[in-house]
């Protein structure tokens, strides 16, 4: 189309706008379809393997037969240690950063440390866990070594989520409490933390999701034993690592699909819980 002013234009502004809008819609559709396709593919292929005995029986013949019960137990133990240690430290750090810290070089170093830790590749954290916890402290391949290594990984997320949650507590509430003669700490425990609890919980739940799926961190810290642990100094094999071994050693593709489905379902449950808590506290705010 050539318009009267002599402007050479193949497409009008309006057409370009429409095409661009279409492309933007398409890009979102592509992104969502990746997600749906990956989850759908794994679940369709693996759902047939899932039954009570797959979930509740111990693996036999390196996992080629039997179930994945021991790996599920392994994952739950590791995640429990990680969460139990990460939550108090992470929430404490967030309280300090929001309520106590002033803008000075030390505070900036602290936030830099959190950002830095968040970026460190999981395998490097795994190497450190191996060198420090397993060898140097002599904890060996154990639930404790693996769980603490996982804590190193999820700590920055716990700090950030708690910071976000604490930031949203209205100033007037805090000032009201302080004006009534409460000390700073009383105000934090009785006013700030209850108000921030839903946000912190959501963050912790999402951190749990990260910890459940993590493999590289625990490979060389938690061990790969398929026996049930009796104490936190026993080694375990986490479910994602079990999946990796099933695949990489060619033990059983069916069992691998089944393990992948269980992992995905765990993550889905975690996400639904996080959304539920967000909704609940939004409703309460209104």
């Amino acid at each position: 189309m050539i318009n009267i002013a002599g402007h050479h234009r193949i497409l009008s502004h309006d057409t370009i706008n429409k095409i661009a809008t279409l492309i933007l819609w398409a890009s979102a559709a592509v992104t969502i379809s990746f997600l749906v396709y990956i989850i759908g593919f794994i679940i369709i292929k693996g759902i047939g393997v899932i039954n009570i005995s797959f979930l509740l029986e111990s693996p036999r013949m390196s996992g080629a037969e039997g179930g994945i019960f021991n790996a599920i137990v392994g994952t739950l133990c590791l995640v429990a240690i990680a969460i139990i240690t990460a939550v108090p430290i992470g929430v404490g750090a967030a309280i300090f950063l929001i309520e106590y810290a002033t803008d000075n070089p030390v505070t900036r170093m602290i936030t830099f440390g959190v950002e830095c830790l968040a970026g460190i590749p999981s395998i490097v954290i795994g190497l450190f866990g191996y060198a420090f916890l397993v060898v140097y402290l002599g904890l060996g391949f154990s639930i404790l070594s693996g769980g603490l290594s996982l804590m190193f990984m999820i700590l920055p997320w716990t700090v950030r989520a708690s910071e976000e949650a604490i930031k949203t507590v209205p100033m007037e509430l805090k000032e009201g409490s302080l004006a009534l003669g409460a000390t700073k700490w009383q105000t934090i425990v009785q006013i700030v933390l209850p108000e921030a609890l839903p946000g912190i919980t959501t963050g912790v739940i999402l951190g749990t999701g990260k910890a459940i799926g993590e493999t590289a961190v625990i490979m060389y810290t938690a061990g790969s034993s398929l026996l049930l642990p009796h104490s936190i100094s026993d080694p375990v094999r986490a479910l994602p690592y079990h999946l990796y071994i099933l695949v990489s050693e060619g033990i059983s593709e069916d069992m691998a699909y089944g393990s992948a489905v269980v992992l995905l379902v765990m993550i889905l449950i975690i996400n639904v819980m996080a959304i539920g808590i967000q909704k609940m506290c939004n409703r309460r705010r209104k």
């Binding site: 502004h13 370009i16 706008n17 661009a20 492309i23 890009s27 979102a28 992104t31 969502i32 990746f34 997600l35 990956i38 989850i39 593919f41 794994i42 292929k45 404490g92 750090a93 300090f96 170093m109 830099f112 440390g113 959190v114 950002e115 830095c116 830790l117 970026g119 460190i120 590749p121 999981s122 395998i123 490097v124 190497l127 450190f128 060198a131 420090f132 700590l155 920055p156 700090v159 000390t183 700490w185 999402l206 990260k210 799926g213 993590e214 493999t215 060389y220 994602p240 999946l243 990796y244 695949v247 691998a256 992948a260 992992l263 995905l264 993550i267 889905l268 996400n271 996080a274 959304i275």
Partner: protein
């Protein structure tokens, strides 16, 4: 009472510096385990060496990780070529175009995509993508291409959410001025919004690069883990080994000097990531996209 408050404040301070202490200890332990080896071998011989043969049947072992640095950067770049255009247009869509209900679907979708364990994505790549590539493009299937696509899918949610924050931070007044001049929505996005959000988007790309270089399990399962450079170098159907995969595979049976070489690989990886993240963090801070 006053004393209690003191004690509490110092306890809180201790939890606050934990992350910093862990980062320092990671660096110290990497240097302790890998540093002496690095100095003995020579940093440039280690980084630029072409041959990796840590456990030879006969003769001297060779520790050169250049092919793996190339492998890591290659796959990470490939993942971004795929994830950046898609991610940025998805972010524009999310902020500027999408109706509210679509926005919430996409946000939930992104959260879920972040949650998919990398070993599950790697498994998906292994059973679906690798055979597809082998069938339609030829070659071995385990390849730079497979690694780039899987890592691209992993990078997508991060690129989308940071770019969306950057786009949302563009002042409304700028966009309104553009509309008032008669520009269409697309013209405004292209000429006003995207240029203003540029530094945030670049920061997202750099962060994505760091994340992709540090990714381990997925790439280990689909990239083929070959310790020689692709031949010719542009052949994206050739397998490569990344630095992360090198550590995972080696740690299985490495002892002595071989293990030190893996820690040295960890040092290089650590430095690359900290530098990339540092740049990105600085850009996001100075652009006021994060506080």
């Amino acid at each position: 009472m006053k004393n209690n408050e003191r004690i509490i404040e110092s306890l809180l301070f201790l939890s606050a510096i934990t992350a910093l202490v862990i980062v320092s200890m990671i660096l110290i332990f990497l240097l302790k385990e890998g540093g002496p080896f690095l100095l003995r071998t020579g940093i440039s011989d280690f980084i630029l060496g072409m041959k990796w043969n840590p456990d030879p049947v006969a003769g001297e072992p060779a520790y050169g990780i250049f092919p793996m640095i190339v492998g890591s950067v290659y796959i990470a770049t490939g993942s971004l070529i795929f994830a950046v255009p898609l991610g940025v247009s998805c972010a524009v869509f999310l902020v500027e175009v999408a109706p509210i209900w679509v926005q919430s679907v996409i946000r939930r979708g992104i959260e879920l995509l972040v949650g998919i364990p990398s070993v599950v994505l790697g498994f998906f790549g292994l059973v679906l993508l690798v055979p597809l590539i082998r069938e339609y493009f030829g070659g071995y299937g385990f390849s730079i291409l497979a690694g780039s696509i899987i890592l691209g899918i992993m990078a997508l949610p991060h690129i989308i959410s940071i770019s969306a924050d950057a786009i949302a931070a563009v002042p409304n007044a700028h966009k309104e001025a553009s509309y008032a001049l008669g520009a269409t929505r697309w013209h405004t996005i292209w000429n006003v919004t995207l240029p203003s959000a540029k530094s945030g988007i670049i920061a997202a790309v750099i962060l994505g690069m760091g994340n992709s270089i540090g990714e381990t399990m997925a790439v280990l399962m689909v990239a083929g883990n070959s310790t020689v450079l692709p031949e010719p170098i542009i052949d994206v159907l050739d397998p490569v080994m990344t630095m992360t995969a090198n550590i995972v595979i080696g740690m299985n049976y490495a002892t002595g000097e071989y293990q030190e070489a893996l820690f040295a690989t960890g040092i290089i990886l650590f430095l690359m990531i900290v530098i990339l993240n540092g740049i990105s963090y600085h850009m996001l801070r100075s652009g006021k996209i994060i506080q």
